[in-house]
Amino acid sequence: VKSKMVQEKGLLRFNHRRLIGIAAIAVLVVLPFINPPYLNLQFSLVLVYAVAVTGLNLFTGVAGQISLAQGAFFAVGAYTSGIMLQRWDLSLAWSIVPAGALAFILGLIIGVPATRLAGHYLALMTLALAVVTAPLLKHFGTYTGGVSGLSLKQPESPIGGVANDQWIYLLSLALALVIFFAAANLSRGRIGRALFALKDNRLAASGLGVNVARFKIIALGFSAGCAGVAGSMYAFAVGYIAPDSFDVLLTVGFLAAVVIGGAGRIFGPIFGSLFIVFVPNYASAVNPGLAGLAYGIAIVVFMVALPDGLVGLLRRLRRLIPRAQGEAATERHLEGRWVSLQGEDLGESPTDGQNGASETMVQTQRGTRNE
């Protein structure tokens, strides 16, 4: 009887969540008709960034791998659309798919050496990619328009009564929802569990039959594909792309968004993207360097004090409200799907091979502390 009750409760809870979800989507659809046009552009950017950040969140937050190449893949998507539009005058729908596909394939290609590299080496390689993106774009000026960049024809609204800025917002929303559900399903299923295992303990995962290399490549491919479609949508939303928009700050911004929202949290990218759209807006009015400083401080403070980000903070605040124990248990169970214990990658420990015993002890302690 008891188990049935729990089940019922779970079912109810699920419906309850679904209702909230539908209401949230309804609000998001109505929003552009209330907001002024400039805010619509800002919120379009939030959604576009959220797509790229969701991809990175899967790679960094779920699989525990570091990529700073997200800005580079974003640029690949933006320029694929930009160049296709310039040459063949295609519509948005025809260029967003190749943009995502190209970034996806590049992600897979980079994923091949990346699977051999762990931890800091991967960060290093991808940082180097982030640094060369802008010079490469400037170098191939015949295609990319060089320093002056490319101007794009923005998509026009086919529906009367819906202005262009509202239409762009709705397109971004549709894209964000598709990617959001794709990522949610991906991390819930077999691939997601394999990726969580990858983060927790690479060696144990491979011992249990997870093909570490393959899942890393898949995760990077998906992550890059997200950045590709996001970049493409960005190009349409802004209507202008130039190499200097794809600098190191952009890619660090994506990383900051993952951290601020909460690494591995499915709703994290939304909070993170709100931060990286609106904070630079206000900060750059004061000083061009202030946005970067805000990113830096946010990253350090969140990693040190709030490693599970804003979403984690909200959860903890909610837990302060007392309620039935059964419900709390369900909650923890659900949570387990998104959050993994912050285990250490045994293979990369600096003290490896010298004091295995004490290391295991430390790990156990940490494990209990996180519980």
């Binding site: 960094t60 570091i66 700073l68 050496p113 051999r116 590299l117 931890g119 800091h120 080496y121 960060a123 290093l124 390689m125 940082l127 180097a128 990619l129 640094v131 060369v132 010079p135 490469l136 400037k138 170098h139 983060k199 060696l203 011992g207 190191v248 660090v252 990383l255 951290v259 690494a263 000083n287 061009p288 360097g289 202030l290 946005a291 970067g292 400083l293 990113y295 830096g296 401080i297 946010a298 990253i299 350090v300 990693m303 040190v304 912050q342 250490e344 990658d345 045994l346 293979g347 990369e348 420990s349 600096p350 003290t351 490896d352 091979g353 010298q354 295995g356 004490s358 430390v362 940490r366």
Partner: protein, 293 residues
């Protein structure tokens, strides 16, 4: 032939610079197992402090020493205040934190000193000598000499002083060092401080060459990473050899691979990193690290 020698010599000059920053990376990695992505930006910040002194009339050599002191303090404070709190956590956490420091220091330098290029005076005379068709500039020679001096001082420091011994002990086994009474935390702070001071030398020597602006150290950092990877991340000798190799390769590629123009030269260290990591991840002098299963 004279042209080739010229390119190699110029390359060694630039390479000595990369070697200095690579040394800083290697020392941090050896002592804490962390790749400090903020090393270049910490160096940039110290360099700006040195520049501030020069612009108010302090002689350049004294300014460099002051920037080293500033660098030491920055490194020690960063270790004590920030890195200490994430030590022992997953690599992911630590690397993300150093990226936060990276963008933070970069932007803070931009906020304080602006984004306009500043010219920094060189501590070396602009003289050059002609030897058998090869022009030897005082700057290249001076940079290489600086590297040699720094290496000798570091060698003596680590081999013959008790502080150096303690630092080595902490790097090789922190737990046991703690048990014999070495203050591990303080040693780590000093280690980070020393690395940042090394970085300050690199930054100060780079400033007249690349012009001082907030993004100056991006490419220098990439070259230094290439140097450290080529030499092996845990080998100081490797960092020096790697730095010189990378510097010479950069100059040779610049003059013999024309399509690689100056704007794409930064692709070269990227390729070197990729090739070395794929073929021989431990680099030339690095030691292989075993994985426990």
């Amino acid at each position: 032939m004279a042209h080739l020698f010229q390119q190699i010599l110029d390359g060694l000059g630039a390479g000595a610079l990369y070697a200095l920053l690579a040394l800083a990376l290697v020392f941090v990695f050896r002592s804490t197992g962390i790749i400090n992505f903020a090393q270049g930006e910490m160096a940039l910040f110290s360099t700006y402090i040195g520049w501030q002194f020069t612009s108010s009339g302090v002689p350049p050599v004294v300014a460099i020493l002051l920037s080293m002191v500033a660098g030491f303090l920055i490194g020690a404070v960063v270790e004590g205040v920030v890195v200490r709190r994430v030590e022992g956590q997953s690599h992911l956490t630590i690397i993300i934190v150093t990226f936060g420091l990276f963008i933070g220091f970069n932007s803070l330098a931009g906020i304080i000193w602006g984004y306009l290029v500043k010219s920094a005076p060189s501590i070396f005379p602009s003289a050059s000598w002609d030897v058998a068709g090869t022009r030897i500039s005082a700057e290249s020679l001076g940079t290489i000499a600086t590297l040699v001096v720094v290496l000798s001082v570091l060698y003596c420091f680590f081999q013959y002083t008790s502080l150096g011994l303690a630092l080595r002990a902490v790097a090789s086994n922190p737990q046991s060092s703690g048990l014999v009474g070495i203050r591990v935390g303080r040693m780590l702070m000093i280690g980070w401080g020393l690395s940042a001071a090394l970085g300050a030398i690199a930054g100060s020597l780079a400033a007249p060459r690349f012009f001082l602006e907030p993004n100056m150290m991006f490419t220098v950092l990439i070259y230094a990473f290439a140097a450290a990877i080529v030499g092996g991340l845990d080998s100081p000798i490797g960092a020096v050899v790697g730095g010189l190799v990378v510097g010479v390769a950069e100059n040779l590629a610049g003059s013999y691979v024309p399509w690689l123009g100056s704007d794409l030269k930064v692709v070269l260290p990227l390729l070197m990193i990729a090739v070395v990591l794929t073929i021989r991840p431990t680099g030339l002098f690095g030691s292989a690290r075993l994985e426990r299963v």
